[in-house]
C-alpha cells in the first residue's frame, strides 16, 4: 500500500487507526475458519460517519470492503478473499443505552456479546443469544452471521433479539431499519439484513431486546454408555415437549479433550453426556427437571447429576464452551461442521458420521446443540498433510449432504461464508438463489461488500483451499 493511500485513510480515521504493514496485516488474514487471505489495509473507525467515509473512499478506488468484529467466525465471513479494505470494529465498542424499563439496549457493533449481558445483569436482564465464543465475539458479527448458541433452543437466535439496525450501504448511504418498538410498518429489512453475512450492508448500530434473567436455573448432567441412548433421550425430550433452555451433547472424544484441558467434571469413560439446563419459575423448573430425569433413566442413563452449586454449573459450561479449543489437544487442526437435522434423527446421523470417519480414517469428535438438531462434528486432522485435507473436505461435504437428505440444513448458526457457499445448491434451487441474488443486487449491486461469500462461485463444489504455510 502506498504512503499516499495510508495518509488518505489516516485522514478519515486518524493515522493510529490504520494498519498497512505486512506484519500487521498478517494478523487480519484469518478468522475462526480454515481460510486465509490478506486485506490491503485494515482500518478502525470510531463513528458511523467514518465508516460511511471509508466506504465512499473504497468505492472511488473500486476496492472490496470487508467488515470484521473479533474474527471468531467459523465460515470465513471476515476473510478478505479479494483483498481490499477491512473495517475492524474494535473502536466502536460502546454500549450506547441500556433501557431496562423498555427491555432494550442500543450498542455499537464492536461490543463483545458477554459484555452486554454483564452490563444488563445487575438490573436482572441479559442478551439471550450466547455463542460459545461469547467472551470474545462481537454483536456486529453476531448480527452478520445470525449467531446462535446453546440457549437459543428456548430463546431463539440473534435475529429474534434484534429489532433495529443502523447500516452503511455499499453506496456510502446510512440506512436505519426497524426501531425500538415492535411491528414497525413496511418490509422487515432488519430481518433481511440479519444473517446476510456482511454482503448487504455494514452494521454500525444495533437495537436489541433484553430478556429477563430466569428466577431459577438447574443444570443436569446425564451420563450414557451408548451414543444411541443419549440421542434417543434427546428425541424423547423433544417429543414430550419439555423444552429445556439448553440441551447439549458431548461425545467421548470431546469429553476426554475437555477434561484434559479444564477438569470441568465430565466423566472420561462415558460414551456421551447430555448437558441439560432448565430455567424459569421455580415450580416449573422442578417439574421439568423431574421429567427430564425420568426420560434419561428410561434410556439407560448411568447417572443423572444435578449441579450442586453455581461454581459447578459454571465449570460444566466452561468445559462445554471451551470444547472446540480443547480439541486442539488431540489434533493440530479441526474442521467443524454445522449441519442441522430434525431432532428425531440424531442417532442415525451420528452413526452415519461415525461411518464416514471410519471409512476415511478420520477422527470425528461431536459436541453440539442436540435440542435443536444442530450438529457440530469436528473433523480432526493435520493441515500439513495434503491427503488428509482432501479427505476432510470430502467427509464434511458427505455429512452435510446427509443432513440435507433428512430435510435439514448445511448451517444452523455458523453461516455460509466461503466455506459452504458451493454447497448452497444442495439446499437451494437455482430459482431460490436467483431471488436471493435479486435482493443482493438491490443493496450491493457491484458485489463490493464481502465479495465471494454466501453465493456459489465457479469453484468446484466443496473445495476449500489448503491454508498457506508460513515461513516460521
Amino acid at each position: 500500500m502506498s504512503q499516499a493511500v495510508g495518509r488518505e485513510l489516516g485522514n478519515i480515521v486518524g493515522p493510529e487507526a490504520v494498519l498497512s504493514a505486512p506484519e500487521d496485516l498478517m494478523l487480519y488474514e484469518y478468522d475462526g475458519s480454515v481460510e486465509r487471505a490478506r486485506p490491503h489495509a485494515v482500518v478502525f473507525p470510531s463513528s458511523t460517519e467514518q465508516v460511511a467515509a471509508l466506504v465512499r473512499w473504497a468505492v472511488e478506488r473500486g476496492l472490496p470492503v470487508v467488515a470484521r468484529g473479533a474474527g471468531t467466525g467459523l465460515s470465513g465471513g471476515a476473510i478478505a478473499v479479494e483483498g481490499g479494505l477491512m473495517i475492524g470494529f474494535s473502536r466502536m465498542n460502546k454500549i450506547l443505552d441500556i433501557d431496562i424499563e423498555n427491555q432494550r439496549a442500543v450498542v455499537q457493533p464492536g461490543v463483545v456479546n458477554l459484555d452486554l449481558s454483564s452490563a444488563a445483569a445487575p438490573s436482572g436482564y441479559y442478551f439471550a443469544p450466547d455463542p460459545s465464543s461469547q467472551k470474545a465475539c462481537t454483536l456486529g458479527g453476531n448480527v452478520a452471521e445470525n449467531a446462535g448458541g446453546p440457549h437459543t433452543l428456548a430463546y431463539g437466535v440473534t435475529t429474534n433479539h434484534v429489532l433495529g439496525l443502523e447500516l452503511v450501504l455499499p453506496n456510502g448511504e446510512v440506512l436505519h431499519t426497524g426501531g425500538r418498538v415492535l411491528d414497525v410498518p413496511g418490509y422487515d429489512l432488519t430481518g433481511l439484513f440479519v444473517g446476510s453475512e456482511g454482503t448487504l450492508g455494514i452494521v454500525t448500530e444495533i437495537i436489541v431486546r433484553l430478556t429477563r434473567l430466569p428466577e431459577t436455573v438447574q443444570t443436569l448432567l446425564a451420563i450414557f454408555d451408548t451414543v444411541d441412548d443419549a440421542a434417543e433421550t434427546v428425541a424423547e425430550i423433544t417429543a414430550r415437549a419439555i423444552t429445556p433452555a439448553a440441551l447439549e451433547m458431548l461425545d467421548q472424544m470431546t469429553l476426554q479433550a475437555v477434561e484434559a484441558a479444564s477438569q470441568a467434571g465430565y466423566p472420561l469413560d462415558a460414551a456421551a453426556v447430555l448437558l441439560i439446563e432448565v430455567e424459569g419459575l421455580r415450580e416449573q423448573v422442578e417439574t421439568q427437571a423431574e421429567q427430564i430425569g425420568e426420560v434419561c433413566q428410561r434410556h439407560a442413563a448411568r447417572t443423572v447429576r444435578t449441579a450442586q452449586s453455581e461454581a459447578e454449573r459454571q465449570r460444566l459450561w466452561a468445559g462445554r464452551k471451551g470444547a472446540f479449543g480443547a480439541l486442539g489437544r488431540i489434533a493440530p487442526n479441526f474442521y467443524v461442521q454445522d449441519g442441522v437435522i430434525p431432532r428425531t434423527r440424531i442417532a442415525e446421523t451420528l452413526r452415519f458420521i461415525q461411518g464416514v470417519g471410519d471409512r476415511l480414517g478420520l477422527k470425528i469428535a461431536n459436541v453440539f446443540h442436540a435440542g435443536d438438531g444442530n450438529l457440530h462434528p469436528n473433523i480432526l486432522y493435520d493441515a500439513r498433510d495434503r491427503e488428509q485435507n482432501r479427505k476432510v473436505v470430502e467427509a464434511g461435504a458427505e455429512i452435510l449432504a446427509f443432513c440435507v437428505s433428512l430435510g435439514g440444513s448445511i448451517t444452523g448458526e455458523h453461516g455460509v461464508g466461503i466455506e459452504k457457499n458451493n454447497l448452497m445448491p444442495l439446499l437451494f434451487t437455482e430459482q431460490d438463489l436467483t431471488v436471493m441474488g435479486t435482493l443482493k443486487s438491490v443493496f450491493n449491486p457491484e458485489g463490493r461488500f464481502n465479495p465471494s461469500k454466501v453465493f456459489p462461485t465457479t469453484k468446484g463444489c466443496g473445495e476449500i483451499r489448503v491454508p498457506p504455510q508460513f515461513p516460521f
Binding site: 435475529t159 415492535l182 410498518p185 444473517g195 417439574t287 438463489l433
Partner: protein
C-alpha cells in the same frame, strides 16, 4: 358471459369450475372499489405459478388472497384484474409431531391448523382476529398476531421456511423445515407482513409449541390507567412470564361484550403451566398488587377461553358494528403507553369521537378503535380522520410508530395511513421494484402505497 382470452387461459390452468366470475365472493368479504374480472382458486402451487406467468404476459394486476378476511386492510390500491385465492390449497404437507415442526399450504384455515396441532397437544399462537375464516397464509402475509405473542413470539419467531411464487411465476423458497438454519438470506422475514406485494406465499413451515398442561387468566380491575400500567410493569419485571398481558379500557370491554370487563381498566394476565405454577401466579399477583388497589378475579377453562376469544376478535367485532370506524395500530416503547392512552381519550373526546383501546401491555402494541358518536357524514369523517392523524403523530412523538390498519374506503385516499416515512422507505420501494418489477402484485395496498 363472453370471456376475453386470458380468462379462458385461467380456466385452462385451474379448471373452469375453479374460476369465479360472480363477484359475490368478494362483496361478501367487504371488497371495495372496482371489481376484478375473475377469481381463480388454484389447487396446487404449480397452478399459482402458471397463473402469475399468465398475468405477467397479459399485463394483469393480481391480488393474492386466502379466504378474504383482510381485503379491506391497508391502502386503497389500484384496480386489479384477477384475484388468486389459495383457499383450496389447504393440505398439511408434513407434520413430524415428535419434532415439533409442521409444514402446511397457505390456504389452510387457522382453525383447521389449530385443530391438527391440538390433536398432538401442540399449538401456534393462532389467537388472531377472524380466526373462524382466516387462512394461515393470509395471517402470515399480514403479520396478524394476538395476545399470546407475548410468550410465543410473532411470526418472525415461528416461521422456519416459506415456499412462494415470484411475480415472474417462478417457484422458489427461503429458509427450511428445521428449527435452526442460517443458510442464505432470510427470505421468510421479508415475506412475513408483506401483504402479498412481493410474492405469493404457497407453503409455510413452522416451529410448533407445546400446549401447557393447564391455564388460568387473572382479571385485575382498576379505576385508572396509571395503576393498571404500574401493575403491568411489576408483572413484567417479576419472574412470572405470563402468556399474555392485555389492558382493556371500559369502552373496549363493552365492545367485547363481556361482563367481566366493565371496570375503567382491566388488566388480563394469562398464566399457563402446572397447578403449582398457577398457584404461584396467584400468590405473586396478590403481593405485586399491594398498594395499587386493584381487585382480582380468576377465570378458568371454558370461561377463560370465551374471554380471550372476545379479546382476539375485537377488531372484526368493532368493524361489524361500526363499518365506518377506524382501527389504528400503534407500537410504543412500554414506558409511553400510559401517556398515549390518556392522549387517545382526550384527543377523541375533543373531536367528539368515541374511542376504545386495547393494549398488549407486555409488547407495547395498542389498538385504538375510533368511531363517530353520531350519524355518518362528511363532517364526522373529517373528525375521524383528524383524530387518527393526531394519534399517529402522538405515537411518533412518543418514540413509536403507528398505522391505520382499517378505515372506510371513503376516507382512505384522504388520509395518511402509515405515518412519517423513514430513510428505509426508499429501500423498501427498491426491494418491491426488484421483486415485482411490473408492480403486478397487490399494487398500492402496502406501506406508503407500495
Amino acid at each position: 358471459m363472453p370471456t376475453p382470452s386470458w380468462q379462458k387461459n385461467v380456466e385452462e390452468i385451474v379448471g373452469p369450475a375453479s374460476v369465479n366470475y360472480q363477484m359475490d365472493w368478494l362483496r361478501q368479504r367487504g371488497w371495495e372499489g372496482a371489481m376484478p374480472q375473475a377469481i381463480a382458486f388454484p389447487s396446487k402451487r404449480e397452478e399459482v405459478g402458471e397463473l402469475l406467468r399468465l398475468a405477467r404476459a397479459a399485463r394483469l394486476r393480481v391480488a393474492p388472497a386466502g379466504n378474504g378476511t383482510k381485503l379491506r386492510m391497508g391502502g386503497t390500491g389500484q384496480p386489479v384484474d384477477l384475484v388468486v385465492s389459495l383457499a383450496r390449497m389447504k393440505r398439511i404437507t408434513d407434520y413430524p409431531a415428535s419434532d415439533l415442526t409442521i409444514s402446511v399450504e397457505a390456504g389452510l384455515p387457522v382453525r383447521e391448523l389449530a385443530a391438527a396441532l391440538a390433536a398432538e397437544r401442540q399449538m401456534l399462537p393462532l389467537d388472531v382476529p377472524c380466526a373462524a375464516e382466516a387462512t394461515i397464509g393470509g395471517v402470515v402475509a399480514a403479520n396478524s398476531t394476538g395476545p399470546r405473542r407475548l410468550a410465543c413470539g410473532s411470526w418472525r419467531d415461528l416461521v422456519l421456511g416459506v415456499h412462494f411464487v415470484t411475480a415472474e411465476g417462478v417457484l422458489a423458497k427461503g429458509g427450511g423445515k428445521v428449527v435452526k438454519n442460517v443458510a442464505g438470506y432470510d427470505l421468510p422475514k421479508l415475506l412475513i407482513g408483506s401483504m402479498g406485494t412481493l410474492a405469493v406465499i404457497v407453503e409455510i413451515a413452522f416451529k410448533a409449541l407445546p400446549i401447557p398442561p393447564t391455564s388460568a387468566t387473572f382479571l385485575l380491575l382498576f379505576s385508572n390507567a396509571a395503576a393498571a400500567l404500574e401493575a403491568s410493569r411489576r408483572i413484567r419485571h417479576s419472574p412470572l412470564a405470563p402468556q399474555a398481558l392485555d389492558l382493556l379500557d371500559a369502552a373496549a370491554g363493552s365492545l367485547a361484550g363481556h361482563a367481566g370487563l366493565a371496570a375503567p381498566f382491566t388488566l388480563l394476565v394469562a398464566a399457563a403451566g402446572s397447578e403449582a405454577v398457577l398457584d404461584r401466579f396467584e400468590r405473586e399477583l396478590h403481593s405485586l398488587l399491594r398498594g395499587l388497589g386493584g381487585d382480582l378475579a380468576l377465570l378458568r377453562s371454558e370461561e377463560e377461553s370465551a374471554l380471550w376469544r372476545t379479546v382476539q376478535e375485537l377488531t372484526p367485532t368493532f368493524l361489524r358494528s361500526r363499518p365506518d370506524g377506524i382501527v389504528v395500530k400503534v407500537s410504543l416503547p412500554l414506558t409511553e403507553m400510559g401517556g398515549f392512552l390518556a392522549q387517545t381519550q382526550t384527543t377523541a373526546a375533543a373531536n367528539a369521537i368515541n374511542s376504545a383501546s386495547v393494549a398488549r401491555a407486555g409488547s407495547g402494541i395498542v389498538y385504538c378503535y375510533l368511531s363517530s358518536g353520531t350519524e355518518a357524514g362528511d363532517a364526522v369523517d373529517k373528525q375521524l380522520v383528524r383524530t387518527s392523524e393526531l394519534l399517529l403523530e402522538a405515537a411518533e412523538r412518543a418514540g413509536g410508530r403507528a398505522m391505520v390498519e382499517w378505515c372506510p374506503a371513503a376516507v382512505k385516499s384522504r388520509m395518511n395511513l402509515w405515518g412519517t416515512p423513514r430513510d428505509d422507505f426508499a429501500w423498501m420501494r427498491r426491494v418491491k421494484e426488484a421483486m415485482d418489477p411490473g408492480g403486478m402484485l397487490n399494487p398500492g395496498r402496502f406501506y406508503g402505497g407500495i
